[in-house]
Symmetry: C2
Subunit: 206 residues, 2 copies
DNA sequence: CGGCTTATCCCTTAAAAACAGGATATTTTT
DNA sequence: AAAAATATCCTGTTTTTAAGGGATAAGCCG
């Protein structure tokens, strides 16, 4: 029986690329694609693929969150993370949110096929680059784990808002904002706001 | 005569996607692809395409630098920037380094074809998303002209140093550092240090 | 030369942020 | 159900920054 495959990626060219790579594979049934998390969930409401190739970065929500959501609702579907970067932290998060595999976008056709065939059997698959990224000891400059609220505050700080303005916007006390700020500085090992924003910008968090 | 096309992108799937999109176009001659800047330059040593689709992010050097280099050596080749993100700073830099067009990776086949046909005539082409990104934040996305000293100070601020530390490092008074800081805030139209660093980071100045 | 830019220096004051302690309630995970 | 993480709030003190005002010397360019 052919493996039913669905793709979530907001880049038309990537979808086209994967489609092209797989069109001659007899045991893959191309079910279609979604450009964002919402239409992916809408599709899954109607139909159930065996494997989803899921981009880590989506316009409406992160693939990491979507992965968790899909796995909770449809544990039978296997998910392969797909990313431009072999960021260790992304890989780790995807896998711990229920993904069965992870493939970098410069993977070869062979790797992609191997990934699909491996995860559909319930096993895990990491593409070569992803496995290398995971193995190398954390260089310390890994992305800190920050909470949703902390990220919100971080973005508002980067927008140049003061603690009081942020407090007003989020309907919380300014002392709370200050605490989040304190925690952000600790987590990013930043000395002050300036270095915090720089580090966050370099990690593409803002 | 068919338009000779070459692609520089480190993502196999994107190359495959573009190849697939263009394989039925009779007036496009697919010359091949390079996965990094070095092999692109090596290829150009041998052959001369009419148009190059060039990813902004390459493993060995930025597409922005490569664009400049290629245009200096081969002014007759037209370059279309290619990127995952519609970052206005990227678009601006590519265009000012000699690119004739800019296309986001989620562009449609129509947009891509239009881009190639437009630039080969010597005209400019911006994909819809890129044009929107360029026009939207009209309020100060042009890169400010800063002096050497100001850039020095900016970098030290981003490193998390205080005015006094910077003063000590540069052998100047801390009030001077403060003045530079003041001027930076004015030039970047930033409200405070946080937004200053964010803007500078996004413009790749730090 | 004369005007312009740059780099340097100084003052004041109010606001903001950093820092150092703490506490409590709600989720989430185990 | 217990433990851990998260989000919320508090009271202080000290340091830093923002933003306003000005001033002088050196170098560059037409």
């Amino acid at each position: 029986m052919a493996i039913k495959l669905f793709i979530v990626d907001d880049h038309f060219m990537v979808i086209e690329g994967i489609h092209s790579l797989l069109q001659n594979e007899n045991d893959i049934e191309w079910m279609g694609h979604a450009g964002n998390a919402a239409s992916c969930l809408a599709f899954l409401h109607q139909q159930k693929p065996d494997v989803i190739l899921m981009d880590v970065n989506l316009p409406d929500k992160s693939g990491i969150d979507l992965c968790k959501e899909v796995k909770e609702r449809y544990p039978g579907i296997f998910i392969v993370g797909l990313s431009t970067y072999n960021q260790q932290s992304f890989i780790e998060k995807m896998m711990s949110n229920g993904a069965s595999g992870y493939v970098i976008k410069n993977a070869t056709q062979q790797e992609l096929m191997e990934a699909i065939h491996t995860v559909v059997k319930g096993k895990q698959f990491l593409s070569f680059d992803a496995a290398v990224a995971l193995r190398k000891p954390d260089t310390g400059h890994g992305m800190p784990v920050i909470t949703r609220r902390e990220k919100e505050v971080l973005e508002l700080i980067a927008d140049g808002m003061t603690n009081n303005e942020i407090a007003g916007k989020l309907f919380i006390s300014s002392t709370t904002v200050d605490t989040h700020r304190k925690n952000l500085l600790t987590k990013f090992e930043a000395k002050n706001t300036a270095s915090l924003i720089r580090i966050a910008a370099q990690l593409k968090i803002i």
